[in-house]
């Protein structure tokens, strides 16, 4: 425990508004921009400015240095507000998922299944006295050499030369370990009926990207499958999934049935962690079809999957009835999460909702 940790904890609690509510109004939201390819992620960097007697806007003015005529613009926009910390940084997708997990406070996923499937894994975690040079453990070798020299009395602290002899050498070596292997399959289903416009698809695409990133960071093996449906369902590839524009009616049960078939056929074992995500505007064909959906969910999909998430995108045409039906029928069921995504800003809340249970 470092000394500063208590200060950090206290600061975090103030930012969250747990203590010192009187400081809450001074909290400013700075951010740190992380980049992944052309995708920018911002890491919030909250900051509290204690009020002081200070100068206000100096007319955005100051002294600078460099080329340029009077009247020309200054390099990057200055005076963007001194308080906000805008930093940009390149990160890998893995780190990105970690940041996401941290910032959204997502729990790590607990793999289910009996974990009977095991794989042999070689791990370099032990030490031997013989081995190839390339695996020589430098530090240990020298430690043994030093120990020997000290014991023999040949070590001179003024001239700390340590010369290992073959007996001092130590090498890394592996041990075979049996590790349980878990894999996951993500099944995305999207309603592509006439009522789902471009904006709705954009929302689905963004949500799917983040869910993908998080689940991939949790499993070694992830398979992703895509299903689109209007009145009938079919499997498509990733590109089609995000770009398809269809029109027609909506029969959600068709998608659920196809989904169930895919699980039955390809991912039958207990070892698979199955995640289903369904996005729709919630406007189903008929009450009869909805009843069929509920039956499929209850009898087939819920028992077979870790989590079934239903995200309802708001659209100009959808009635939003489907989410209502789900919530009513399956209130309190752990396997099901439903969320409303009113607009782009709702994406984060939706992801937190979906993945916040750590199932």
């Amino acid at each position: 425990m470092r000394r500063v940790d208590q200060d950090v904890t206290r600061f975090r609690r103030i930012v969250k508004g747990e203590i010192r509510q009187n400081l809450k109004r001074y909290v400013a939201q700075g951010e740190l921009i992380a980049r992944q390819g052309d995708r920018a992620v911002s890491v919030p960097l909250p900051q509290i400015d204690l009020p002081k007697f200070t100068f206000g806007d100096r007319g955005g003015g100051g002294v600078g240095q460099g080329e340029g005529q009077v009247g020309e613009g200054v390099g990057n926009e200055a005076g963007e507000g001194e308080g906000s910390h805008q930093l940009e940084v390149e990160v890998s997708l893995d780190e990105l998922a970690q940041i996401l997990g941290e910032e959204l406070a997502l729990p790590r996923i607990k793999p289910r299944g009996t974990q009977q499937v095991e794989a042999d894994m070689k791990r370099y975690r032990s030490i031997r006295r013989t081995g190839p040079r390339s695996l020589r453990h430098f530090k240990r070798t020298f430690r043994h050499a030093l120990r020997r020299q000290v014991m023999l009395g040949t070590y001179d602290p003024k001239r700390p030369a340590i010369v290992p002899i073959p007996e001092d050498e130590r090498f890394r070596s592996y041990e075979v370990q049996r590790v349980p292997e878990s894999s996951a399959v993500i099944l995305y289903m999207m309603d592509v009926s006439g009522s789902m416009g471009n904006e709705q698809k954009e929302i689905v695409r963004n949500t799917a990207f983040w869910i993908d990133a998080w689940i991939r960071s949790q499993y070694r093996n992830v398979v992703v499958r895509y299903i689109v449906h209007d009145a009938a369902a079919r499997e498509v590839d990733r590109h089609t999934f995000f770009h398809l524009k269809e029109s027609g009616g909506t029969k959600i049960s068709s998608a659920y049935r196809l989904c169930d078939e895919m699980i039955e056929k390809d991912y039958p074992d207990e070892q698979w962690n199955v995640y289903c995500f369904h996005f729709s505007d919630g406007d189903n064909w008929s009450g009869g079809d909805t009843a069929e959906c509920l039956r499929l969910l209850d009898e087939e999909l819920f028992p077979k999957s870790n989590l079934f998430c239903y995200g309802q995108v708001k659209s100009a045409y959808g009635s939003g009835q489907f989410k209502h039906d789900l919530d009513q029928r399956f209130a309190g069921r752990e396997e099901l999460v439903t969320a409303d995504i009113p607009d782009k800003d709702g994406i984060l809340a939706c992801i937190r909702e979906f993945l916040g249970r750590g199932r």
Partner: protein
């Protein structure tokens, strides 16, 4: 935290010897190798390993930690003005960086000891800071964390209301209330007379001039007391410490905040010169003594990285170093003094050379006697401003873009000086502690062209009210007219005091 490895100790020794040979004067410098997060912690504590518990250190730490973790910034070293001088070096520095950083550190250590503005600072600040931590901790245990922190926040809001110059000049003692036992005598206008054994000694023991002077003083004091006016003072924290009704623990916290603010003041006053000097020292030591030929390119890369400046900001390292080099060059050529200044021919001025060779001596002198304001005032020549392409920028009211507004050296210099005066803080004095004869506190902001930030000022008045516990006022200027902002414990008020011609 660990001490130097054998090789690094040797590097340090070589750097020390080179620094001594250059003529630097510094206390013992203790180097410590630290992990990134340890350095971030020390940095968030303002350079100290131990400070009192406060959330703002946590905030600072989180910012440093995150931006280090995502590879946005890196601190190479940190050095504290203390005797012995402690310097923390980032463990991950390359050997060349270590060399560079050590040379830089010796520059700072010399500056702390030699620069006149650091003379009155506490050289045992590391211990003092730790003692402050203990004191605050004791108050926390007795009063509760919430209460103490809340009060500290109020004090910290007023942190910049100190009188940095009080470190160097003895101000006239503010009109203190007369000690009780003397009040009556004082009020009666009686002067103090020493007893004498023999009458003839009277004019010697109690000379008339002294008695008259005291009488006059008493009359003036009484006048002042009657009007309730006190000497305006910039040391608002000190004033509150003497006059505000505070509980013991509150006074102690306020005292700690004030003492620490005063300790850091010389550093804020000499940012440009201090960094400029350390850069001057490291580049001299590195290029002339310490650098191995194989390290030259890496060194140049690091050195120029330190000196790069975005167009909209002044990099103190760069401004300080280039100005010191300009001084070195000018004094080497004898390009100063009246004859040089009065010369109208720019070309002739540029080629001026009397072969004086006093450059290094002058640079040493500058580091001894100047702070940023006097440094810029004395040495920022129009030639330098043109050569370094300094300009003024501002917002174009039509387009809203930030544009270059002026390249006139005189205006640039004026603006720079303004920015550094009073460490960039507004000048605010307490002028009355019994305003309208109601025990209300009256502060005046000396307006010099830039308005105060109103929402912050209003909040700060609340903090001030917490300490003073009677209504508080701040007189300032907004758009050419004087206004009075008030906080009386419940409501904020505003009063117009009239236009300024």
């Amino acid at each position: 935290m660990s001490t130097l490895t054998a090789e690094l100790a040797e590097t340090a020794e070589r750097a020390r010897e080179a620094a001594m040979e250059l003529g630097l004067d510094f206390p013992e410098v203790v180097f410590e190798l630290v992990e990134p997060d340890e350095l971030n912690m020390v940095a968030s504590y303002g350079g100290f390993p131990v400070r009192y518990a406060h959330w703002r250190f946590g905030m600072e730490f989180q910012h440093l930690h995150k931006s280090h973790e995502y590879g946005l910034s890196k601190i190479y070293e940190l050095v504290i003005n203390n005797d012995p001088c402690y310097a923390y070096l980032m463990k991950t520095n390359t050997p060349m960086e270590m060399k560079l950083v050590m040379a830089h550190v010796f520059g700072h250590a010399d500056f702390f000891r030699q620069n006149a503005w650091f003379k009155p600072t506490d050289r045992r600040m590391m211990d003092t800071m730790a003692n402050h931590a203990t004191r605050v901790h004791r108050h926390v245990q007795r009063q509760g964390a919430e209460k103490v922190e809340d009060f500290l926040d109020a004090c910290l809001s007023l942190e910049n209301l100190i009188d940095p110059m009080s470190l160097y000049v003895k101000r006239d003692a503010p009109a203190e209330p007369v000690p009780d036992f003397d009040t009556e005598r004082y009020a009666a206008g009686q002067v103090h007379r020493f007893d004498v054994k023999h009458r003839y000694m009277e004019p010697f023991v109690n000379p008339k001039t002294a008695l008259d002077a005291e009488k006059k003083q008493i009359a003036a004091d009484m006048e002042k007391r009657k009007s309730g006016k006190l000497e305006p003072t910039r040391d608002v924290l000190g004033f509150l410490l003497r006059r505000a009704t505070l509980q013991d623990w509150q006074a102690d916290c306020l005292d700690i905040v004030r003492e620490e603010a005063l300790y850091f003041a010389p550093q804020a006053m000499t940012k440009i010169l201090n960094e400029g000097w350390a850069c001057w020292v490291h580049s001299r030591l590195m290029t002339q003594r310490l650098l191995d030929p194989s390290e030259v390119v890496d060194y140049c890369d690091k050195h120029s990285g330190t000196l790069s400046s975005p167009p909209d900001r002044i990099n103190p390292y760069k401004l300080g170093l280039t100005l010191l080099r300009d001084i070195e060059d000018r004094w080497n050529r004898g390009a100063h003094g009246r004859a040089w200044r009065d010369c109208d021919d720019a070309e002739k001025r540029r080629r001026w050379d009397t072969k004086d060779g006093d450059g290094v001596k002058k640079v040493f002198e500058v580091r001894r006697i100047h702070n940023d304001v006097t440094f810029l005032d004395a040495f920022l020549t129009p030639d330098f401003i043109e050569q370094e392409k300094l300009f003024l920028y501002g917002r174009d009211p039509r387009t809203g873009r930030t544009v270059i507004t002026d390249r006139d050296p005189a205006n640039v210099k004026k603006k720079l000086l303004q920015q550094f005066t009073n460490m960039g803080q507004p000048l605010i004095d307490v002028v009355d502690d019994n305003h309208e004869n109601r025990g209300e506190l009256y502060l005046v902001h000396r307006h010099e062209g830039v308005n105060l930030r109103e929402d912050f000022a209003r909040e700060t008045l609340r903090a001030l009210h917490r300490l003073w516990s009677r209504p508080v006022h701040l007189e300032t200027v907004v758009d050419q007219s004087r206004v009075l902002w008030t906080y009386d414990g419940k409501d904020a008020g505003t009063r117009e005091l009239g236009k300024i011609e």
